[in-house]
């Protein structure tokens, strides 16, 4: 409640400073102006096609990246040959700011949806790979021994120990992955696109439209926050076996 109140106070202060002319609206339009621009985007229907493009790219990137990252993470952790091949690639990709791959994907896949999805996939997959890979490597050996002494073989260990153990890591990373997926989609659109929120941002920047720029940033923030909260709710429900302190620590 206190945090919401602080945000509200800051917004009111910003509005007041803008109304009194203390802040130049060219650089920082009043919040009311930004809100007006955002509302008009929806009432005029301008934004819908762009929203659809960004959401499609982000969600497709999130799902594909999740599947690939989890699959390769498991494979690398359990099969040494796969680790030898995949881990160096993931480490190299992790070492660079992966958004710089955007122009390369445009060259390879064109300026439409596939290049945006590809960037989102790379951002998410690398994150998930390390979450799963580290999760399996760090699995509690005592639990592995426990299941083995109860007679459990490889498949039972996978089902009863490795998968649940890694799920905690994956769900913790899912919240970050949501942001990454949107980053991939928006940055990809910013570099080269014919539609999407990133494309609109590029347009706003080229016309020095600070109100539209901030409005779009605000919109992206809202969408990512909604997905973040949804991911957190899923995490809380699936990980209800965890002690409360562990949940708060991971959040």
């Amino acid at each position: 409640m206190r945090r919401l109140l602080s945000l509200l106070v800051l917004t009111v202060l910003w509005e007041a400073l803008a109304q009194f002319g203390t802040i130049d609206p060219f650089y920082a339009p009043a919040p009311s102006e930004i809100l007006r621009v955002v509302i008009s985007l929806f009432t005029e229907g301008t934004i819908l096609g762009h929203l659809e493009a960004t959401f499609t790219a982000a969600l497709a990137g999130l799902v594909i990246g999740l599947v690939l990252g989890v699959f390769f993470g498991f494979a690398a952790a359990l099969i040494p040959f796969v680790a030898d091949v995949v881990e160096p690639v993931m480490m190299l990709l992790n070492a660079i700011p992966r958004v710089i791959l955007a122009p390369l994907f445009v060259i390879w896949l064109g300026i439409e949806l596939p290049s945006k999805i590809a960037l989102a996939v790379v951002l998410v997959a690398v994150l998930m790979f390390f979450a799963v890979y580290s999760g399996i490597k760090d699995v509690n050996q005592l639990l592995v021994d426990r299941v083995r002494t109860l007679g459990g073989g490889r498949m039972i260990l996978l089902r009863e120990v490795y998968i649940p153990s890694v799920t905690a890591w994956v769900l913790g990373s899912l919240k970050v992955a949501v942001g990454f997926a949107f980053t991939g989609a928006v940055v990809g659109e910013f570099v080269a696109a014919t539609r999407g929120l990133g494309y609109l941002l590029q347009f706003a920047q080229s016309t020095y439209n600070a109100a539209l720029t901030m409005g779009l940033i605000f919109l992206i923030m809202v969408f990512v926050l909604i997905l973040f909260v949804a991911a957190e709710a899923i995490e809380h429900w699936l990980l209800r076996w965890r002690p409360r302190g562990a949940e708060e620590k991971s959040a």
Binding site: L143, V147, E160, W241
Partner: protein
């Protein structure tokens, strides 16, 4: 029930243990004591197959499936409820889910955990988690119980209560037990035979002690038996000597 012949094992070039032989006859309670690092836990891990010995042999009369292992930490799966944890071994042995959970409920009842079955392990106290871990192992009806300092983390009162309950159970069901413990008094109180390991590396069985306190045993009454104190003193002195003279 269990025979260990000339076991040598370790985690690198130098063996932690060498030439270890011991026996756990059917229906007998045997303890293994020794200095820290002498390889007591490694012996239990070799018996269960968690560790491959460098040499030697482990003979289990009734096979690997007859062995139950109680770890020092409770090792309950945090993401499973208590009753699911207790039923786990049965489910691994392909017992149907309904039957396994019904069996688990029965064991929770026997171990005074009825009403706690649907909780997760972190919602239980240390003593309750230990009881759940015992139920998890006993649900498989083992004939040989291996215990690696299972009550070390519990407070004195809870520890004594659970030890007495387990002792009653073992005596009633004629289970064979191999207990690893640092507590010399505990070893003598519960055991028929106590093996003392020497200091590692290359630790071996230094001496064995036969405990003639009659059964059924009571934790407190056993310590008042005339043979208890002399035996404890002997064990204490031998272990002190073992700790001050490392194996060459």
């Amino acid at each position: 029930m269990l025979r260990v012949f000339d076991l040598a094992l370790g985690y690198g070039e130098e063996p932690v243990l060498e030439g270890v032989s011991l026996e756990v006859p059917r229906g007998k309670f045997v303890s293994l004591v020794g200095p820290s690092g002498s390889g007591k836990t490694s012996i239990l891990r070799a018996i269960t197959g968690l560790l491959t010995p460098h040499s030697g042999r482990v003979d289990l009369t009734d096979g690997q499936q007859s062995v139950g292992f109680l770890f020092q930490d409770d090792a309950l799966l945090p993401w499973r409820t208590v009753r699911e944890n207790v039923a786990l071994g049965l489910r691994i042995r392909k017992v149907s889910k309904t039957t396994a959970l019904t069996e688990a409920d029965g064991w929770l009842n026997r171990l005074s955990l009825d009403g706690f079955g649907r909780r997760f392990p972190h919602e239980l106290s240390g003593g309750q988690r230990k009881r759940a871990a015992i139920a998890q192992v006993l649900a498989l009806k083992p004939k040989l119980l291996l215990m690696d300092e299972p009550f070390a983390a519990l407070d004195a009162i809870v520890r004594t209560r659970i030890t007495q309950e387990l002792l009653n159970w073992v005596e009633r069901e004629h289970l064979s037990v191999l207990l690893v413990t640092h507590d010399l008094e505990e070893a003598l109180t519960v055991s028929d035979t106590v093996y003392l390991l020497s200091q590692g590396p290359r630790a071996r069985v230094q001496t064995s002690y036969e405990v003639s306190i009659p059964r059924p045993r009571d934790i407190f009454a056993s310590r008042r038996h005339p043979s208890f104190v002399p035996l404890l003193e002997r064990l204490w002195n031998d272990m002190s000597d073992a700790m001050s003279s490392p194996q060459v």
